[in-house]
């Protein structure tokens, strides 16, 4: 039990002084005086007077002494004094008084016991409640700590997720570049193939030229008759099929040069697209960037997709050079993926004096309105699991944001999706 609550032991002894009040006893004793007694008093078991009322005339002789019982134990005595002739009248009064005192005493004890047990029970209930409250406070503290940790953990996870997302965006850019590289490699391989083949042929031709020259050198030393030399040389000339070789070698050289030029043009386009030589911002023409992207995708597009260009002159834009390429590459690849068996891609650009508007529309199934809010979210894809990363349009979103522009999707005329990019121009 805590120290600041009242504590009772049920059954603790009570003194008659604790149970009877002056206001209970004195009126009774005074009543006895009024009835003719000279003195009425209550004494403890040691004889000491606890309460008393006496007339000034003196107390006279003891007429009656009656025990007052508390729980079966005589704890006090009622004593009545008076003149001897009053005995007959006062003795019944004494009996009456003791009954009255006994009743008051018993009721008082009952009240005290009730109060004590009530207090004990209330105290113990209160202590139980205090203990329960402490337990609840502890559990609340535990949950608060958990909640605080949870917030921290959520923050950590969010940061982790952001890092992973940035990583994936980078990967997607690399994947796009990889696809592009495959296409470009094919473009380069083709001319490289016939240049190599031509060089092999030229190698054989050169060997024949050498053989012919060797023949001349040897036969000139022999100092043969001229006619004979001419005849033999003619035979050798034909043997080595030099008339055919002479006719072919010019074509071979011209073809090879053209091929080499094609390769260097592709490399220049690639460099231009990637802006690999530029650091920081540069001034670009978005139409030119669009064309360059198409060139790089020519292998994927050739014979497969129909490209419709409606390009109007645009002001130059200052930006990180590789951003437009990223946007166009991803949007055109997206159109090729979703546009079905015979894709038709319409590219249009215009400038309204403030903003450049570029639209890339396809003839595919279009994008349902319900999905339009999600398509630019990272990892969102309508392709089967494993087929798409869901990062392509997220890359577009990020790049457009860096150009301080917006990208939205609308219905293309006649069905299909129309991606509209709006970029503020005239920033110098």
């Amino acid at each position: 039990m805590s120290a600041d609550t009242l504590h009772f032991v049920v059954g603790e002894e009570k003194k008659v002084r604790e149970l009877l009040l002056d206001a209970d006893v004195l009126p009774l004793l005074k009543g006895a005086l009024a009835a003719g007694a000279s003195c009425a008093r209550v004494t403890g078991d040691d004889g000491e007077e606890l309460w008393g009322a006496c007339s000034p005339a003196g107390r006279g002789g003891l007429l009656r002494s009656l025990p007052l019982m508390l729980e079966g134990e005589p704890v006090a005595h009622l004593e009545l004094f008076g003149a001897p002739e009053m005995r007959e009248r006062l003795e019944p009064l004494a009996s009456l008084l003791i009954v009255a005192l006994d009743t008051v005493l018993r009721n008082s004890l009952k009240r005290v016991l009730t109060t004590e047990i009530h207090t004990s029970v209330v105290n113990s209930s209160h202590e139980e409640l205090v203990a329960m409250n402490a337990e609840l406070a502890r559990s609340e503290a535990r949950y608060r700590e958990l909640a605080e940790n949870l917030e921290l953990r959520v923050k950590e996870r969010t940061a982790e997720l952001r890092r992973a997302q940035a990583h994936l965006l980078q990967q997607e850019k690399m994947a796009a570049v990889g696809q592009l590289a495959a296409g470009v490699a094919h473009e380069i391989n083709n001319p490289l193939g016939f240049i190599t083949s031509n060089l092999h042929t030229l190698q054989k031709y050169v060997a024949r030229f050498c053989a012919m020259l060797q023949f001349y050198r040897e036969h000139l030393e022999l100092e043969q008759p001229r006619e004979r030399l001419v005849t033999e040389a003619e035979t050798k000339w034909r043997e080595l099929k030099l008339p055919h070789v002479m006719a072919d070698v010019g074509d071979l050289m011209a073809q090879s040069l053209a091929g080499a030029e094609r390769v260097s043009r592709i490399v220049a386009d690639l460099k231009g697209f990637s802006h690999v030589d530029e650091s920081g911002e540069s001034v670009v023409d978005l139409n030119q960037e669009l064309e360059r992207t198409l060139t790089l995708l020519s292998h994927q597009l050739a014979g497969r997709a129909e490209i419709v260009k409606e390009l109007q002159p645009l002001p130059e834009v200052k930006c990180q050079g590789q951003l437009p390429g990223q946007i166009f590459l991803n949007l055109i690849q997206n159109a090729l993926t979703h546009a079905g068996a015979s894709p038709r891609i319409t590219l249009s650009s215009c400038f309204d004096g403030e903003r450049i508007r570029i639209s890339i529309a396809d003839n595919g199934p279009g994008i349902p309105a319900a999905l339009r809010g999600q398509i630019f979210d990272p990892f969102f894809t309508t392709l089967p699991v494993g087929s798409g990363t869901g990062m392509g349009l997220a890359v577009v979103w990020e790049a457009v944001l860096k150009l301080q522009g917006t990208v939205a999707v609308a219905d293309a005329p006649g069905g299909g999706a129309d991606f509209i990019i709006t970029i503020p121009a005239g920033r110098n």
Binding site: V9, V10, G11, E71, G72, E73, S125
Partner: protein, 219 residues
């Protein structure tokens, strides 16, 4: 023991009638009150407060004086049987010197008996008393009921525990004084061992029990 005051030469003992609700604890006290002589016995005090929480017990006090002058008061209590009054039961059990467990012989009440006895055991330990050493008597009350559990069965269950069992019908006054005498004797043995009631105070076991349980003379 509620109190022992060497200077005042005073000893206050506590006996508690425990048991399930409606097993006849108060009836036991009422019968004791009616059966025993008025000499040295106080009035039965029945406390019942109704209201938010009913807190309730009965008290029958006894008073005797040993030849040495040692005043001994024995307060006999009942506890409320209802499960919800556990706090009152604990408060009343504090410093008890002996316990009478009033069980209900009605077979249907066997479960209540067991639950109440478990409650007694737990509450005794909570107030620092040991059920194995405290004077304890079991009274199987309501033997007059037709559905009463047979005595054979009760003996088989309780005799091995060594706890004395009294069969009673408190309503008819049977077994009530016997139960009280039995627990009074056991309490005497325990107190005598510690306070030398016989050797120092000249109070023998017989006298102690007789003082508490002397029946009224038949009129």
């Amino acid at each position: 023991m509620i109190e022992f005051d060497e200077k005042e030469r005073r000893m206050v003992l506590k006996l508690v009638y425990y048991g399930p609700a409606l097993s006849g604890k108060t009836t036991n006290l009422l019968q004791l009150h009616d059966l025993l002589t008025r000499q040295g016995r106080g009035e039965l005090m029945v406390l019942d407060t109704s209201g938010d929480r009913t807190i309730y017990f009965d008290l029958l006090p006894f008073f005797l004086t040993a030849p040495s002058g040692l005043k001994i008061k024995v307060k006999v209590y009942t506890v409320p049987g209802q499960v919800c009054h556990d706090a009152t039961r604990k408060a009343v059990l504090q410093r008890a010197d002996g316990v009478v467990f009033v069980a209900d012989s009605n077979r249907a009440e066997a479960g209540s008996n067991v639950a109440s006895f478990d409650n007694l055991e737990r509450n005794l330990s909570l107030v620092g008393l040991d059920i194995d050493s405290i004077p304890l008597v079991i009274q199987f009350n309501k033997r007059d009921l037709p559905a009463a559990v047979p005595e054979e069965e009760i003996r088989t269950t309780w005799d091995p525990t060594g706890i004395p069992v009294v069969l009673a019908s408190a309503l008819n006054g049977h077994g009530v004084a016997e139960t009280f005498a039995l627990v009074a004797g056991l309490v005497y043995d325990r107190i005598d061992a510690r306070f030398a009631l016989a050797a120092k105070h000249g109070l023998t076991r017989e006298r102690f029990v007789a003082k508490l349980t002397s029946l009224k003379e038949e009129p």
